[in-house]
């Protein structure tokens, strides 16, 4: 299954929100949809889900219109959306029935998902009596109740403690393994790096970066090497070695750590040999890749 977003344009009143957005997502891999606040993430999600139409462009699933594909969506909105004063189980069943399930199946599935997220004991409580993290898990159960083919998670980790975050990670992992399309929108780059093989980064209504995350990272400068060793004045020690020909600069911000910028990224093996031949006992030798966060700040910070 392949979800294609093609040249989407959308404006509201006088605001041009999306200016030709295209990306693709395949089943079995999560796509991280990144962007700053107001970049158009929620708008593109709503267009994918058919809440409103794009001005131009199209959304296709395996070459078909979304409405004709018969594929089911599950959406976890960023703004938590359920009735605060109503019973948890009833609401989840209601959502399931709105998405076309009959009452019996909806109830069965709701109970199964409540059990999966460990919320069975809250089934007949009112939603607003639950903590934020627990409400979040209820929301997740509602999102997944109808066994959707395409799952869109908007900031799923906000408000979850590490244990619950781990549970959500497990669930998302299972969804990916069972060949669902998972779209993942978040500001927390750490989570995106863990889950998403692919990313699409929106800035000012345009895709500024998209593709396989590993390949994107490889495209970045790989000439910086991090070295850790149990030597307080590591910079001084390195200076004694004859690596001047290879290194452009040596910086040490922490004792025992130094970053060497190579003149040529291809010299990293030569540097490693020199270090092994020296009397330094290496704890760590790492080619520094930019983190997604750094890439994000670089790309999305551009005006």
């Amino acid at each position: 299954m392949r979800l294609s977003v093609k040249d989407i344009e959308k404006s509201f009143a006088s605001k041009h929100v999306l200016k030709g957005v295209s990306f693709e997502s395949e089943s079995g891999a999560a796509l991280g949809l990144l962007g700053r606040n107001g970049a158009g993430k929620t708008t593109i999600i709503r267009i994918i889900m058919g809440v409103f139409p794009p001005d131009l462009g199209k959304i296709e699933i395996d070459g078909q219109k979304v409405s004709q594909s018969g594929k089911k969506f599950g959406y976890l909105p960023e703004e938590r959306g359920l009735y605060p004063k109503q019973i948890v189980l009833n609401q989840i069943i209601y959502v399931g029935m709105l998405r076309g399930m009959n009452r019996h199946d909806a109830k069965e599935s709701a109970l199964r998902w409540l059990n999966r997220v460990g919320m069975t004991e809250y089934a007949d409580k009112k939603l607003n009596t639950l903590s934020k993290g627990n409400q979040q898990k209820i929301q997740l159960a509602a999102t997944l109740i109808n066994d959707p083919d395409i799952i869109i998670l908007d900031e799923p980790f906000s408000g979850l403690d590490p244990v619950n975050a781990q549970m959500l990670k497990d669930i998302v992992g299972e969804l990916i393994d069972s060949n669902k399309i998972v779209l993942f929108s978040s500001h927390q780059m750490g989570y995106v790096e863990q889950f998403c093989d692919n990313i699409a980064m929106l800035n000012q209504g345009k895709i500024v970066l998209s593709g396989n995350l590993k390949e994107i990272k490889r495209g970045y400068d790989r000439s910086k090497v991090l070295i850790c060793a149990d030597i307080p004045d590591i910079k001084g020690k390195l200076a004694q070695l004859e690596i001047g020909g290879l290194a452009e600069s040596i910086e040490s911000k922490e004792p025992g750590e130094a970053v060497i910028k190579l003149k040529d990224a291809a010299d990293k093996d030569k540097l490693l040999h020199k270090l092994i031949d020296s009397d330094i006992t290496l704890d760590k030798y790492e080619i520094l890749e930019p983190t997604l966060e750094e890439i994000f700040v670089e790309k999305a910070g551009e005006k």
């Binding site: 509201f12 009143a13 709503r46 889900m49 809440v51 409103f52 139409p53 001005d55 969506f73 959406y75 909105p77 703004e79 938590r80 959306g81 359920l82 009735y83 605060p84 109503q86 209601y94 959502v95 029935m97 709105l98 998405r99 076309g100 929301q139 509602a142």
Partner: protein, 423 residues
Amino acid sequence: MKQLKTVFLYEYGNYMKNKVFLVFTIVVTALIILFLSVPPLFSDSISSIFGSSGSNTTAAVERTKSLLIVDKAGIFTSEEEAEKMLPEYNVKLQTSGSAEDAAIKDSINNGEYNGAFFINSGTDYTYMSKSNGITTGFDSDEIYAAVKAKYQLSLYNEAGLSQEQISALMTAPQLTVIESGGSDFGDTYIYTYVLLMVLYISIILYGQLVATAIATEKSSRAMELLITSAKPNNLIFGKILGTGTAGLTQIGIWLAAVLVFYNINSSFWSQYEFISRIFSMPVDIVIYAVIFYVLGFFIFAALYGALGSLVNRVEEINTVALPVIVLVLVGFFGAFTAMASPNNLVVIVLSYIPVFTPFIMFVRICVTDVPMYGIIISIALTAISAVGIGMLASKIYRLGTLMYGQRPSVKELAKMLKKSKSY
């Protein structure tokens, strides 16, 4: 259709489970039962307000008021004779005194007597009472009628007329007014007024519920999930139908309580013409009332729904609801004009404008002869515009998900609606 049914049942079920809604229904029902079933408790005030037409036939009327009759003309021979004609009064009869008498004034002011009736001569009476609000007029009328009858009777007796002649003279001729254009005005006026009030109150009440429900959905962001799970049309129409049916259920329960307990106590209530006239409304009027209730509710609920989609918080509804309330009021007061002159050109025109039809056409049907094709056209127009406004409301509802923060101006809204037309 299945989705619409799901939304409808969920919304309806929520009202049926809502404690406030249930308590309100039960309390009002209890009040209705109480009011209709404990007539002796209220009999005094009711009879003085509505005027009883056959008080001496019932044991429920007691002598609760006291009256001083100063009879200088010698019309009454004893207090018992006067009390026979004034079943609600304990009568004290005396032959001297005047309205300037301080002792008499005091006895009224301190509550010893409810009033004093001075018979200065057979044709000159004065009635004095402490200001008693609206009931004073009814009291004086009643006593006046009794004294006048007694005086006339004594004149006829003096003239030597036979019992048959006297009773023929004393029996008031009965007048029945038949208007060729409708039924009796008195009856019509009363039940039309009552139905109009019910229509007005329920449209405001249940319309507001729709607006509140949608605004709540928006402020709790439940809308975010709903709108991605169901079609906005189904959500809006399901909500309107659910609320409307809940309203009908509530009114139905109240009406059933009224009917059942009115009939149980009908022997008491039938003596009050005002009340019995309400229950004399013809079946076709009841059917029209239901049709116009449903249409009126639907059209205004759709408008309220659109408004609810425009605001971010429940508290903001009142600030945007003004135009709708103005429409309801124009319809409501237009209906009063229609009661007086149902065939006035302006009234006729207004009765075909969908938002006013439920009030004005309904009143015209009650008080005059509206041709059947006119009724059908107006109902059709209202039904079509109700659906149209409902669709518009669902568009605004969908757009409303985007509009957190600043409320859009009418111009912006029109622009956005135009753009979303193709969808």
